[in-house]
């Protein structure tokens, strides 16, 4: 082998404007870095991500001929791309630059102890430098990407995203589970803070969806299956039969008139009745009748058949079957929306028990019908609103504010007052949040109209048995008096929760959800429309409660994000892929079985990786007895260097724990913990891997041999993991390691495998601290045991061969 050129590494220590330098003595880190092998230049700069910082890197690469760069700053999740781009500008392969995460992993979580934080920052920098000694340039493979988008959900967000995409010349497949599009907005009376009629502004948009040549609408449809990746999503859509030819139907209503079956109308929240064959709503688009097969007496003409008899255009067809449609999509926009909080979960408010306790959506429907001159429920003179029902409530597990209830209740109160100025309307609120454009003025208008805002949350509602009115008892917290009053109706301003569809799609697409249950964005600040899955974007209330303007803005944004990806016509694949050395592979086929993504196949007696399908988890590596597989970018050599760097200067009595953190969940979780300034043991040193399956038993045994006191492995919980099936692989590898430890007489408690989602902050802190306590109590592993372990590991490897 040709002798390797001696690397020239540049190290840049960032102060992050005090974020790092207030805790870590950055000069000490810089001095320390100077002495590291192959480091030819060290700079200490206030903001590395600024133009000044990037310029320094670019100039040093050009003038000083650096061939590797380590930026000791924040998380690579945060600024990794910035520095890769800077390197590329200077002609350095982007995989020759990497970061040491001394902010999220040191300055922030260890802010209480400046010296410890500095020591850890030094160690992290050293680990990055030595890892980069083994770095090799990598090239991302480019694959073509088409122009078709799957939009899931045809509420206002889905509609807006579809129209924007279709107008820009992209092909849209819009899937809606209900028989008509429009979502919740189609149920609303008016919209705040402008008071325009919801259906009047929505209808034209819905009509545009129907008429747009670029939009294929699949309503009354479900997503049965989604597989594939960006540029090549395979979608199976099941279109349920409506038994009515929508093209032919003239919505003349004769079928509905003769239908003998009566069921509650879901569009009116069950306040009115509909027939088994019905028009989903007055503004339904498509404007055609639908036959509800669950309510219908029987699709056999013998059972009833009245509707078909009267249909003069012969639009009704009892033989319609569900249709399965296969669609290929390059990107996906999830706009699956919300459901309202089920007020029955707060029994003290008597919803569904007292006839005069309504939820706000029911009042919307009552007001819509009233506007059309139809009284579906008589409303009295005294009406009260109870805010925050199902929001900001630890008792039902919803800590979040639903954001829209203050304003929709104000709107409903205003409408009630406009209809009858003699009405007395009270709003019992916790905090009034009028944060949006025009909201404060809207609130003021309500006050001017005489709506009484009382700061207090009622404990319970009672029904007066004589007149069915509702008795509200509430503390006016501003005067400390208890108020009691009887109201004709009490309206519960129910909060929002992720819809059933949102939960289902999240599972199908493996999209992480936050602690509030809504879809988690890829980055709270800078990627609010992206998800953890490449090519999948989110819009509307599926991501969190928001009003119509915010949903529309987000939908247009998500459309733009999707266009950004597709418009280039090609897409860069991650270079992190398994690579098989044909010179070493002996064709045993073990890796074929080990691959959780079925990306390895035997070809001509040798294993071959199907690069686009390979997800880059590294689970195949430990299955290869011939050491023929490596993972690009996260190579064996690099990780081994990093482990050695983490342990080689360890003094007796010191405690060090290696945590293999998967990139998607554990690494981000540790970033989150750091950002929240939650402290955990500085003994824990994080090695970033795509998946913990990448940490082979051999590698872990070697870490123990070199002096690690404990090893932790973090992986995503299966529901959110980008790598299906790695959990089992890791479990097996950990068992293998534990049996080796057992034979060497080393305690098995020194190994811990956990599956996380990115929000398990306290669990992460508890587990890292516990591991640190356990290993400190056990003390360092004696040398002879470590040597024995190395022997055992070697023997096992030989036995495999």
């Amino acid at each position: 082998m040709a002798e390797k050129k001696k690397p020239k590494i540049g190290v840049y220590v960032c102060h992050c404007g005090g974020n790092i330098s207030d805790t870590v003595y950055v000069d000490q880190v810089a001095d320390y870095a100077e002495k590291l092998p192959d480091v030819s230049l060290v700079r200490s700069i206030s903001h590395m991500c600024s133009e000044e910082g990037q310029k320094a890197i670019i100039e040093d690469i050009e003038n000083e001929h650096l061939d590797r760069v380590v930026v000791a700053a924040c998380s690579p999740q945060f600024q990794g791309e910035t520095f890769k781009k800077a390197a590329a500008k200077a002609g350095l392969n982007p995989y020759m630059i990497d970061m040491a995460n001394i902010r999220e992993q040191s300055a922030w979580p260890h802010f209480e102890d400046r010296q410890k934080a500095t020591e850890k920052a030094k160690l992290l920098t050293k680990m990055a430098v030595e890892r980069m000694e083994e770095a090799e340039p990598a090239q991302a493979e480019k694959i073509p990407i088409g122009k078709s988008v799957l939009v899931i959900g045809a509420g206002i967000a889905g509609i807006q995203a579809s129209l924007d995409l279709a107008d820009a010349g992209f092909e849209v497949h819009l899937v809606e589970e209900k028989p008509a599009i429009g979502g919740h907005m189609a149920q609303l009376s008016r919209t705040f803070p402008t008071n325009d009629c919801a259906s009047c502004i929505l209808s034209p948009k819905m009509a545009d969806v129907m008429e747009h040549p670029g939009i294929h609408l699949y309503r009354y449809s479900e997503i049965e299956e989604i597989s594939g990746t960006v540029g090549d999503f395979q979608v199976k859509i099941k279109e349920k039969p409506t038994y009515v030819d929508a093209e032919a139907c003239t919505a003349c209503n004769q079928c509905t008139e003769v239908c003998p079956v009566i069921v509650p109308d879901e569009h009116d929240m069950g306040l009115t009745l509909r027939k088994a064959i019905y028009l989903p709503s007055a503004i339904a688009i498509p404007h055609a009748h639908v036959l509800d097969e669950n309510a219908c007496l029987g699709l056999e003409p013998l059972a009833c058949g009245k509707c078909a008899e009267v249909c003069h255009v012969n639009a009704i067809n009892y033989d319609q079957k569900p249709k399965e449609i296969d669609v290929k999509a390059d990107t996906i926009i999830v706009a699956t929306g919300y459901d309202i909080f089920d007020a029955r979960l707060k029994p003290q408010y008597g919803y569904a028990k007292f006839e005069n306790v309504l939820n706000a959506l029911e009042l919307e429907r009552i007001l819509v019908h009233m506007g059309e001159g139809k009284m579906i429920k008589k409303l009295g003179k005294r009406i009260a609103f109870v805010q925050c029902v199902g929001s900001r409530d630890a008792q039902v597990g919803n800590l979040y504010c639903s954001r829209i209830c203050c304003m929709y209740a104000t709107k409903l109160a205003l409408m009630l007052k406009h209809m009858d100025a003699s009405r007395d309307i009270y709003m019992f609120y916790t905090d009034l949040r009028a944060y949006g454009k025009g909201f404060e003025e809207y609130y003021r208008r309500a006050q001017e109209m005489g709506i009484k805002f009382v700061r207090g949350r009622p404990g319970e509602l009672r029904e007066n048995p004589d007149n069915k009115k509702i008795i509200v008892k509430v503390e006016d917290t501003l005067t400390r008096n208890i108020l009691e009053g009887e109201f004709d109706q009490v309206v519960l301003s129910v909060g929002l929760r992720p819809s059933e569809g949102t939960i289902e799609i999240a599972e199908k697409l493996k999209l992480p959800r936050g602690p509030d249950g809504f879809l988690q964005e890829a980055h709270a600040k800078f990627k609010p429309l992206d998800t953890a899955v490449e090519g999948v974007f989110i819009a509307g209330t599926a991501q969190g409660p928001k009003d119509i303007p915010d949903s529309v803005a987000q939908a247009s944004g998500a459309a733009a994000r999707a266009i950004r990806l597709m418009n280039r016509g090609e897409f860069e694949l991650s270079p992190v892929k398994a690579a098989i050395d044909p010179g070493l592979c002996d064709g045993c086929g073990m890796c074929v079985e080990a691959c959780p993504a079925n990306a390895i196949a035997m070809m001509g007696g040798m294993a071959a990786v199907n690069t686009p399908s390979c997800k880059g988890c590294g689970a195949c590596i430990s299955s290869c007895h011939a050491d023929a597989i490596d993972l690009k970018v996260f190579t064996n050599a690099k990780i081994m260097e990093e482990i050695e760097a983490a342990l080689e200067d360890k003094k007796p009595g010191e405690n060090r724990i290696i945590l293999f953190a998967d990139d998607m969940c554990t690494y981000r979780l540790a970033d989150g913990v750091g950002t929240a300034k939650m402290t955990y043991s500085p003994d824990v040193l994080i090695i970033r891997v795509p998946s913990s399956a990448r940490a082979t038993p051999e590698m872990m045994a070697r870490a123990f041999e070199l002096g690690a006191d404990g090893i932790m492995l973090g992986e995503c919980e299966p529901a959110v993991s980008p790598f299906p099936g790695t959990g089992q692989v890791i479990g097996k590898q950990v068992e293998q390691l534990k049996s080796m430890l057992d034979k060497a007489g080393i305690e098995k408690e020194r190994v811990l495998f956990s599956q996380y989602v990115t929000v398990m902050f306290s669990r992460f802190v508890n587990e890292t601290n516990r591991m640190s306590d356990i290993t400190r109590k056990l003390g360092n592993i004696p040398e002879e045991k470590r040597k024995k372990l190395a022997r055992i590991a070697k023997e096992e490897k030989e036995a495999m061969q």
Binding site: Q348, C388, R392, D393, A394, Q395, T430, D431, R455, G456, R457, P458, G459, E460, K473, V474, E475, D476, T477, R480, I482
Partner: protein, 134 residues
């Protein structure tokens, strides 16, 4: 008359002490008042439960002089309804404990009519001693 509450280090110490006795939940109260109308005996209190919480948050020891903390029946309705998950029953118990530990007696057994003493159930005496201490 409007009371003036002076904010001093002593107030912080008082809040800290209650926090310690109740697992650090005092600051979570957002003064929504749900406790006051969930409490079955609030109308018998001189200040409503929500005000007890506010005074504790402000570290105002005046709260120890209120009758409300003794009227509290520890029925836990406030606790199960508090949207912030604050255990209000624990707070009133902590306040009572602090007061009890000052060892002030207002009930003098010797001055109870012996006849009455014979007829009173033991449990009534125990709870009376507890209630009228402090």
């Amino acid at each position: 008359m409007t009371r003036v509450i002076k904010l001093s280090a002593a107030n912080e110490e008082f809040t800290r002490r209650i926090n310690e006795l109740t697992n650090d939940m005092i600051t979570l109260c957002e003064q929504c008042g749900i406790c006051s109308t969930s409490c079955p005996v609030a109308e018998e209190m001189d200040i409503p439960p929500s005000e007890i919480m506010r005074l504790v948050q402000l570290g105002d020891e005046y709260v120890l002089e209120t009758k409300a903390i003794w009227v509290c029946a520890s029925c836990y309705t406030c606790t199960v309804r508090c949207p912030r998950g604050v255990d209000l029953s624990k707070v009133t118990e902590a306040l009572r404990q602090i007061k009890l530990r000052t060892n002030m007696n207002y009930l003098d057994i010797d001055h109870i009519d012996p006849e009455e003493l014979r007829n009173l159930p033991a449990i009534a005496l125990v709870s009376a001693m507890r209630k009228y201490t402090g």
